[in-house]
Amino acid sequence: METWKQSKAVFWTLATPGTLWLAIFFVAPLAIIWGLSFAEKTSIVDTEITGTLSNYIRALGTPVYLKIIWKSIWISALATLMCLIIAFPIAFVVAFAPDKWKPILLMAVILPFWINLLIRTYALISVFRTRGFVNFGLEWLWDGANSILAFIGLGPAVLGAFEPLQMLYNNFAVIAGLVYVYMPFMVLPLYATIERLDKSFLEASLDLGASQARTFWSVVFPLTMPGIVSGIILVFIPCLGSFLTPDLLGGTNATMIGNVIERQFKAANDWPFGAALSFLLMYATFGALALRSLFAGRKSGMEV
């Protein structure tokens, strides 16, 4: 590595285009939103930046919005926890799999992530809806049970007609959707830390008589903490800001912050309030990232 002063011309040629692009088409738009979050609507189309905090106060002081923010947080937290519980054994199995199997298993984990988010959500709808595959399977079992009961002489249709389960348009659907969509984000950082783990620690612990459970809690868990924290943040942030999953799977019953933001920018046409809500999300993101760098120590920002 050389210092930038050694070949200034090359340095500036390499640095300028990317930096400018990000400054104009990323930082400037965010700055506009940040400014808007301190603005007031003066007419239907005009807004004026007055430095007011009323948008933030409205977001954090109105029970309706406070309830939605709170709900977004607990739904995201629950989805993140579920991801962690499911992803840990998977990351473990992949990390300890024979070398021949590792790339195949990893690929199997990552591949769904590359399939369009919308398509995966749509696939979930056709599984969960009242005329979907889960209900279809349940109905089949139900009818089967009915005919068996009839066969052993308990009379026809003891269980009554099948009532399809309402699995869409509630909190359950949103949490299931978020877990389904963001699982790979949890597996990858966990896998990376478990893979780097010095296996001799585990062997030492087991040889000295600790059980597998004790080894997990006293050795593996503390040593994989950076991966766990990374995974939690990588899942929690997109969950908190998710818009598509609650929109399609939650309907009007499971509104999250993302849906409120969308409404402010489209139907409700209250951009300053939407901007304030977006920036509340941004502040939460920055807070989470700061927390991660605290845990990860000296890791650089480009590593995900």
Partner: protein, 298 residues
Amino acid sequence: MSELAGTNKAASPGGRAIAGPRGRHMTIGPLEYGRRFWLRCFVAATFLLLYAPIFTLIIFSFNDSRRNIVWRGFTFKYYEKAWNNDGLFEAFTNSLTIAVLTTIIATVLGAMVALLLWRYRFPGKPAYEGFMALPIVIPEICMGVAMLAFFSRIGWPSGMPWPLNLSAITIAHIAFTFPFVAIVVRARMAGFNRELEEASKDLGASEWQTFMNVIVPFMRPGLIAGALLAFTLSLDDFVITFFTAGPETVTFPVKVYSMVRFSVTPEVNAASTALIVITVLATIVAMRFQTPDKTEAT
């Protein structure tokens, strides 16, 4: 399997011996988590849940029934219908055009940033790296509404002829994809042997010749992987496009979104399957380029 178990038994004295069926002894080493029955079941069940919805979607795109739940025979009918659906076809063309343009520009920008970070030490570098990673970490919806506000504030012309009407979406896509390209290319460059560069210069090559004949050939797998990553990211994006797109520019995900809101139809299944095939192929090719090949001297 039994051979494997035998060698593992020798290697790990702490292994538990479990009497298998018919008295055959199978030993599972203490660290062979992948061979524990319950863990295996767990992983298999998770993969099943992960893939079952996608596979049913693909299978039922060939189903000869509008109800889309009971199998009524194999047909390509809905592929034909999706192909002849003008709105869907236009959206697909738009998506591919945006993805190709994004890929070209994002790859160039990303490669330049990667070279910059790989080659130079400069004041404020950690902060610069954080700045470059920002589009990756912030919630998509924040970036989406920011783009919406930005393009309306600067008065970006709308209603331009094709393909200029896609410019706003393309610009937004480049902004969030090129940092990903930079990460991939930089990871590839980390394995570069600087002595090759010195040798080239010692032998009289200029800076530019060294770049074209030594650095670029080494960088190529990273460039291809990064380009395919940018392509899939652009093709897949819904949230940012949803906010950036005007009423007259519809991309494939945005079109599917409006169709899904009305009903679940086999046409959507067919079009989705086509998109899945494209992205999965691109991803597999990208993965092959990303894995560092051992034959090459590094």
